[in-house]
């Protein structure tokens, strides 16, 4: 894995890794492809049993990004882990709701501590 992460940073909160996505808007496919590669590489290497993704810096997303999130979720689940999402603006959350994924495939919480409490 590359030493320097381009699209996200990671910190541990109560033993749970919290991935904070960078400030890029995830609407451009080439950026989404690279970000997904970096994220899946992290997941495959770390195999976290619990993982929170923090969206506080994400302005808006596309359906391509949603598809990427489904792939990342598959990787987390494939290693026996659980993924939860936090700090999503209404703009970012709306596509997840419209596509019926919020509450079904993805559990979305207001804050990271709430997401961690829900594990």
């Amino acid at each position: 894995m590359a030493d320097e992460l381009k699209f996200f940073s990671v910190k541990q909160i109560e033993g749970v890794p919290e991935i904070t996505l960078g400030s890029a808007d995830f609407v451009s496919r080439p950026i989404i492809v690279l970000a997904k590669e970096e994220l899946t590489e992290y997941v495959d290497l770390q195999k976290p049993p619990k993982l929170v993704m923090n969206f506080k810096n994400v302005g808006h997303i596309s359906s391509e990004f949603i598809a990427a999130m489904i792939d990342i979720q598959d990787h987390v689940v494939g290693h026996g882990g659980t993924l939860k999402l936090s700090h999503m603006s209404q703009t970012v959350q709306t596509p997840f709701q419209i596509t019926n994924l919020a509450g079904r495939l993805f559990m979305i919480y207001e804050t990271t501590p709430e997401a961690i409490d829900a594990f």
Partner: protein, 303 residues
């Protein structure tokens, strides 16, 4: 109306206010002050400044709320935030919400003047455009682009301009329109012109999907195809027509992506978002042209 000629500084600390005033007056600016966001909005309503510089933490209405209020009432008025150490995250969030810049309080005397100068020169450069925009009642633009997805954000940015000039939508609505445009443009390039199916995205982590996109960008007939984007905006609505040169597709054949059985399948989500964010969506018979309409909400109107 007279052209704004003063800077409004907002801070609940008289000491900080005085310090900012001194720094700005030394640079030759005329300065007025307010003790919180509420008082600032009252002053803005009476006498429009050319720039607002505000603290983040204040009683009544804080800096973030002030940014939102200014963007709602006077979108072209620039706002600079002053921040204490440790509040960079909040400042970054304010930038996304429409603030022009932020200056750390710790070295105000050094960093404030150049930032003010830069923000004001940008404001001045666009003043003529803003003044003329007040008289715009209709706007049309047609763009013809190649199959470069990296261009899409710039195309969307260009298409947003007439909507801002005609004061058609608020920022939230414009973001939704931007998302719908992104979906439609990427559909036209990837699925239309390059004829790459989203089903391929589910094979081997999506690598065959991205490889085929890159390959077809260099192959005839795909590489020679163009996407035509037409916008027509009036004071009541905006209409986008996006047409590709592919063979078209049958929208009726798409699976319902919200059906629990299809949740993890690729395909159909983009169109679903377009339909959710636009008021009217029409496809031509061939399936290579989409027309999207968004109407301005009139206060008190209901469907």
């Amino acid at each position: 109306m007279a052209e704004p000629n003063h800077i409004l500084v907002v801070d609940d600390s008289p000491t900080q206010l005085r310090q900012m005033q001194l720094v700005l007056e030394k640079e030759g600016y005329s300065v007025r002050s307010a003790a919180d966001g509420k008082e600032a909005m009252e002053q803005i309503a009476i006498d429009l400044p050319m720039l607002v510089i505000t603290d983040l933490q204040m009683p009544e209405m804080n800096g973030l709320e002030l940014v939102a209020a200014v963007k709602a009432s006077t979108p072209s008025l620039p706002v600079i935030l002053t921040t204490s150490q440790g509040s960079e995250d909040i400042a970054a969030s304010a930038l996304r919400d429409g603030a022009s810049s932020y200056v750390p309080k710790r070295d105000m005397a050094l960093t404030l003047p150049p930032v003010v100068k830069q923000v004001l020169s940008l404001y001045e450069a666009t003043r003529f455009i803003r003044e003329v925009s007040k008289f715009a009642v209709e706007s049309s633009i047609t763009l013809v682009i190649g199959n470069d997805e990296m261009l899409v954000p710039k195309v969307i940015e260009r298409l947003e301009r007439p909507m801002v000039e005609l004061d058609l939508f608020d920022e939230g609505e414009r973001l939704q329109i931007a998302m719908a445009l992104d979906e439609a443009l990427v559909n036209a390039i990837v699925h239309g012109n390059l004829e790459v199916s989203s089903e391929l995205r589910q094979t081997e982590d999506g690598k065959p999907y991205t490889d085929l996109i890159e390959k077809r960008k260099t192959e005839s007939p795909y590489k020679d195809r163009r996407v035509k984007v037409h916008l027509h905006a009036s004071c009541q609505q905006v209409k986008f027509v996006i047409c590709d040169e592919g063979n078209g597709f049958d929208t009726a054949a798409l699976r319902d992506p919200t059906d629990p059985e299809n949740l993890e399948r690729a395909g159909g989500r983009g169109l679903l978002l377009i339909n959710a964010f636009m008021d009217e969506v029409i496809h031509n018979d061939c399936g290579n042209e989409i027309t999207m309409l968004k109407r301005k909400q009139v206060d008190g109107a209901s469907d």
